[in-house]
């Protein structure tokens, strides 16, 4: 090990001083890349003997949500709901007759810190699974860590798709489970028959990708380029006067719908401006993908009545499972004295967190171990009766949940009234068929395919490594 380190050090220094013969040119990296892969394989093998599972003590479960910083507003509830679910599972006897022990860390809305804390959870705490992340960037930050250390992450938030990892289970919606049904609804006569489209978002990857997919989708439905307006605002933008006026101008005279992927704190000023400039939902409906019950708590909803949101779960869904879920949550909030306990709401990512934990617990129970490789294999075939009233399966191939889609209008009391829903859960498309590069890709983590972003199987014949 020592000599290896020294050679690396020397060659790095060599690169600094004698730049010219470094493997910088396009062609050269091939060889080191191969060695990298070989090394990756060996180190993965070395890392494979998963956390020392001492069979009697509690099972450690990591919770990786920001409790401070800008994302605390959304993620704190997920931490709470995760703790609640774990408490319920423990009360029912735990998993494999062992208690679950949550390990809560605060990555403080700081992306490198997410990676650091993920590493800490896996390497130091030896957790069996991690539930966490909200933003795309936090997920991207921890992804290499989970892949390197062979960890297991449940990601509970709707996202832009275009990803599939052996080590991640996505319990939030992919674009085809949220954005596309919403647009289809708005196109229908019932939704207002929109002809013009305003794609409005915060300037980062989720809105960009979603809008890109929607752009392809709209064009495939015959909407001309000139009828689509795409606008982006910086993070934390709080002055929507000009944009709302532009939307009004753009929409004049034609049925128009706004698809909003505006993130976080910008929503309140946006909706307030919308209401004050007199854009009514019956004229120009706005459908949002990141506004749920939790976000509406901070908005005066009276002027927003009729605007839409598309999710896989709403608090107002009337099923016995949901009633129980809400009751459990309220009771938990009261028992733990959470701030504003009487007014706590449930929302989609909370439901996704809840489903994820239940699913993992079932899988571990079935696998009879917390060993990550075994549990991962088991999760792919689990189903959970979700609060939304459906039996939801995890897709063993692409590691995404099948989810029902609901479209709902905002009501004056900050809740949603479902106006449309799918008949059953629909399968996620990890790779969007609307993006040419992605359409060829197949996400399939089942043997013998075992690759989430390939165009042909990784293992064509048993034992032969024949990657493309």
């Amino acid at each position: 090990m020592k000599t290896r380190t020294a050679t690396i050090l020397l060659s790095l220094l060599g690169a600094i001083t004698g730049a010219c013969k470094g493997p910088g040119s396009e062609a050269a990296p091939a060889a080191p890349a191969e060695s990298a892969k070989a090394a990756a394989a060996t180190s993965a093998a070395a890392a494979a003997p998963a956390p020392k599972a001492d069979d009697t003590g509690p099972i450690k479960v990591g919770i990786l949500h920001s409790l401070s910083g800008t994302m605390a507003i959304s993620e704190t509830s997920l931490k709470d709901v995760a703790l609640m679910t774990i408490e319920k599972i423990n009360a029912a006897g735990g998993v494999l007759h062992r208690k679950l022990e949550p390990v809560v860390v605060d990555p403080a809305s700081n992306w490198p810190l997410f990676a650091e804390k993920a590493r800490e959870l896996i390497q130091k705490e030896h957790v069996s699974v991690v539930f966490g992340c909200w933003t795309s960037v936090s997920r991207k930050s921890v992804l290499p860590v989970f892949e390197e250390l062979n960890g297991l992450l449940f990601y509970p938030v709707q996202y832009e798709g275009e990803e599939s990892s052996y080590n991640v289970f996505y319990t939030g919606a992919a674009p085809n489970q949220q954005a596309i049904p919403a647009v289809e609804y708005l196109m229908s006569a019932k939704g207002g028959g929109a002809k013009k489209w305003v794609l409005l978002g915060t300037d980062y990857v989720y809105p960009r990708t979603t809008n890109k997919i929607l752009n392809y989708f709209l064009k495939s439905k015959g909407v001309p380029e000139s009828n689509i307006m795409e606008k982006y605002t910086p993070f934390g933008h709080s002055d929507y006067q000009t944009i709302v006026a532009d939307v009004k101008k753009f929409a004049a005279g034609t049925p128009t719908a706004v698809v909003s992927t505006i993130n976080g704190d910008s929503n309140v000023p946006f909706y307030k401006e919308l209401a004050n400039q007199g854009l009514k939902a019956s004229d120009i409906p706005v459908v949002a993908f990141s506004v749920g019950e939790e976000e509406l708590r901070g908005i005066d909803t009276k002027p927003l009545v009729g605007h839409l949101a598309a999710w896989n779960y709403f608090m107002s869904i009337d099923t016995p499972e949901n009633k129980k879920f809400i009751a459990d949550w309220k009771e938990y909030a009261k028992a733990k004295n959470l701030p504003d306990a009487d007014k706590r709401v449930t929302n989609d990512p909370m439901e996704a967190t809840y489903i994820g934990i239940k699913m993992w617990a079932q899988a571990a129970e079935q696998a009879g171990t917390t060993d990550i490789n075994a549990v991962r294999q088991a999760i792919g075939y689990q189903t959970v009766r979700s609060p939304s009233g459906f039996t939801i399966p995890m897709d063993a191939k692409n590691h995404h949940l099948h989810k029902p889609v609901f479209i709902a209008e905002i009501k004056a009391d900050g809740q949603f009234q479902v106006v449309w829903k799918t008949e059953g859960p629909i399968r996620a498309q990890a790779w969007s068929p609307f993006i040419p590069e992605s359409s060829k890709k197949i996400a399939d983590w089942t043997f013998p395919w075992a690759c989430g972003n390939c165009t042909e199987p990784k293992f064509k014949t048993e034992g032969a490594v024949a990657e493309k």
Binding site: A36, S43, R119, K140, P234
Partner: protein, 362 residues
């Protein structure tokens, strides 16, 4: 060199060299050595701590650069995150290119470009294939930016809090710029999913040790460079500028040039630290450019003690160590602890930990 010609002050006193050598060697070797012990050993250092310490070393290097600027020249920049981030981005771009076709899309282009439907590499990405070029860029781009910005600012005699405030505006503007997807640097997600550096897999223990050792060596080098500057006549002029700028001018020195020099040097060191930081944490994105990050850098220096090159890195270690510890142990109280630390340091230990320690010793 005649005997009469003497350097004003030695870079380090004789015994200082011995101590420095010992500390440097220890800091470079100890962590990898402990990490290489068998995991069953009581002294074994878990892997995640190696990258954690590596990260701290990068922060400490930044702190030294800040201290050179603030503690010695009296220029408080609240925008040093810019230089750190640019250094990081230069390295990140190189690492991004090193992924080759192993990315998600199996494309020659970085994944986010495929995402955004870009067909070819923007011009400023092209030379980044070359590792040496990227390294040079990691130092040169922050240096040039600092030189340009500093030239404008110092020439107009912007100083004191005004300088602090416009550097804050600088980092804020840069943050907005880097957030944009059109800028071509990955937008909010930044650059991530690195696989290898200079052909070595990033997650291999050997690479990690090498990066750690480079960071430690870098910190030592930064210390020596800054020490060289501060003990030279130029260092004395800088301190004079801090205390009495007009007198320095009337003595015939051009303070603008001295400030520009030290500002640029400090930016280059930050760029260097950023370049080493990125492969160790595995991601660089615009949040590094948040004004609050740059303010925190100043906090490290203030906590450690200004005007002492030992205090600054110490402050970086203490604050970041506390952050790592308390965000796990007391997540809710963490901000209180950090806040109280700042207030206490400014009120009771204006010379920071080093000042407090030396007072205790007396």
């Amino acid at each position: 060199m005649s005997a009469a010609l003497t350097r004003l002050e030695p870079v380090l006193p004789k015994r200082g060299w011995a101590a420095f050598g010992a500390v440097a060697l220890l800091s470079i070797l100890l962590v990898p050595a402990l990490n290489s012990l068998s995991p069953s050993s009581a002294l074994h250092l878990p892997d995640y701590l190696v990258t954690l310490f590596g990260k701290f070393l990068c922060y400490a290097t930044v702190a030294i650069a800040m201290d050179l600027l603030w503690g010695y020249a009296g220029i408080l920049s609240l925008g040093h995150g810019v230089f750190f981030a640019i250094g990081g981005y230069a390295m990140g771009m190189c690492l991004m290119r090193a992924i080759g076709e192993a990315g998600v899309y199996r494309s020659k282009l970085p994944d986010f470009m495929v995402f955004l439907d870009w067909k070819e590499l923007p011009w400023f990405w092209r030379p980044m294939d070359n590792f040496a070029f990227a390294l040079v860029a990691a130092l040169a781009v922050p240096g040039l930016l600092a030189y340009g910005f500093g030239f404008l600012a110092f020439r107009s005699r912007i100083r004191g809090v005004y300088f602090s405030i416009i550097t804050q505006a600088l980092t804020f503007a840069m943050m907005l710029l880097f957030f944009r997807n059109e800028t071509g640097l990955g937008g909010n997600n930044g650059l991530t999913d690195f696989k290898q550096i200079y052909g070595y897999p990033l997650h291999a223990a050997g690479t990690k040790h090498a990066l750690y050792m480079l960071s430690a060596a870098g910190l030592c080098a930064a210390f020596l460079i800054c020490r060289f500057v501060t003990t030279s006549k130029a260092g004395r002029v800088l301190r004079s500028i801090r205390d009495q700028e007009s007198r320095v001018m009337f003595l015939g020195y051009d303070p603008t040039r001295f400030k520009l020099f030290v500002y640029t040097l400090s930016a280059v060191i930050c760029g260097f630290a950023g370049a080493l930081y990125v492969p160790q944490v595995g991601i660089i994105n615009p949040s590094e450019l948040q004004p609050s990050n740059s303010i925190e850098m100043a906090i490290w220096v203030a906590v450690g003690g200004r005007g002492s090159l030992i205090g600054a890195p110490l402050g970086a270690f203490v604050v970041n160590g506390a952050k790592s510890w308390f965000t796990v142990a007391l997540p809710n109280a963490w901000l209180y602890i950090l806040g109280l630390l700042f207030v206490a340091v400014t009120l009771f230990f204006p010379r920071g930990l080093v000042g407090a320690l030396s007072r205790i010793r007396k």
